[in-house]
Symmetry: C2
């Protein structure tokens, strides 16, 4: 297809597509003449991934360059590729140098060990959880593995579903795209439904209290 | 207890406590002498709720005044009180005047109806979910009730646990406090664990892909 069709189908302007090519995010099309190049479905797929990373994950160009580089490097496993992309998305919470934070972060590491989960030592999710532990303790809510069980169970079931729904043989770029959409957008779906479910559960228990 | 002890136990300065009294967020203590008042456990509990609303929910004083007023008004059911507080917390996403958003919001309302959940017509969670539906559709992910099932199930189980863990006979202020901590902080726990669970599920499926 020509660049105008690629623009129509991706919803991105020709100018934006040319910018992504200059920045090395999108491979050049194959030259048909001195002024025309031909693009295919892989270009469209790549553009959709870049859009998702930019708009939904709000990632800077440099982070997207890294992810795109890893997609093309077959030496990087699909898991390492997804983990790198998920870590780039963040959120990156500040890790203050204080004993409360240190203790919370150690508890998180112990929890991950106890669950036997494979989670990178530098995963932002570890810091995010530690950050939440600090806030909960400050408000007088202790944290034990027993308290966390329902959350661990819910998170694991949703994640298994998300990773499991990617069809076998899906191209690397498409797989990472789909998993990141789960990380960012379906996470918001879960948050919104959690709030609704709370309101519903509260109505059932406390409507006349 | 004197205001100095209330300050120690709440972690708030005497100045902040006096500010909350002036703003009507905290009832005055009972006068012991011309310059001294006596405070009790209810004052401490109230201060913890205000702190949670301010620091964790980042609510403005005016919203906290409303919630505190509703706590003292026995004509407001505990459920209405919690729903009002949860709605005040947000997040409040913009509801643009475009057909995609309108269709998504109608789908959300239909979904809530199908689930039979009690969720206020003006609940920000409805808009948040609609917002996410728009983004998912733009990326080419259709939304069906079947796709949402695992999220609905996880959200409902977690919410039932959260509402169920409040002991019977807990005072209104404490109940709202506890539920809001679930809304804000345990939601972050769920988010962090979801990211970890994704990374773990990805490692198991894609480590050698």
């Amino acid at each position: 297809m020509q660049i105008s069709e690629l623009s129509d189908r991706s919803g991105l302007t020709v100018q934006t597509i040319k910018f992504y090519i200059r920045e090395g995010l999108l491979p050049k099309g194959s030259a048909v003449s001195a002024t025309r190049s031909d693009y295919d479905g892989r270009h469209l797929e790549r553009l959709r991934l870049i859009s998702a990373l930019r708009e939904v994950g709000e990632l800077p160009i440099s982070a997207i360059q890294e992810i795109v580089g890893a997609i093309e490097d077959d030496g990087v496993s699909l898991h390492d590729l997804f983990a790198a992309a998920q870590h780039a998305v963040g959120p990156h919470v500040a890790a203050p140098h204080d004993p409360h934070w240190r203790a919370a972060r150690e508890d998180v590491d112990a929890l991950v060990g106890e669950l036997g989960w494979t989670v990178g030592a530098g995963a932002p999710s570890r810091d995010l959880l530690a950050h939440t532990f600090v806030a909960l303790r400050r408000l007088g809510y202790p944290i034990t593995l027993k308290d966390l069980r329902p959350y661990v169970k819910a998170a694991a079931e949703v994640a298994e579903h998300e990773v499991g729904r990617v069809p076998a043989g899906t191209p690397r770029a498409r797989t990472v795209h789909s998993l990141l959409v789960s990380t960012i957008l379906y996470e918001q779906v879960l948050t919104a439904l959690h709030r609704m479910a709370q309101e519903n559960a509260s109505a059932r228990r406390f409507d006349h209290a």
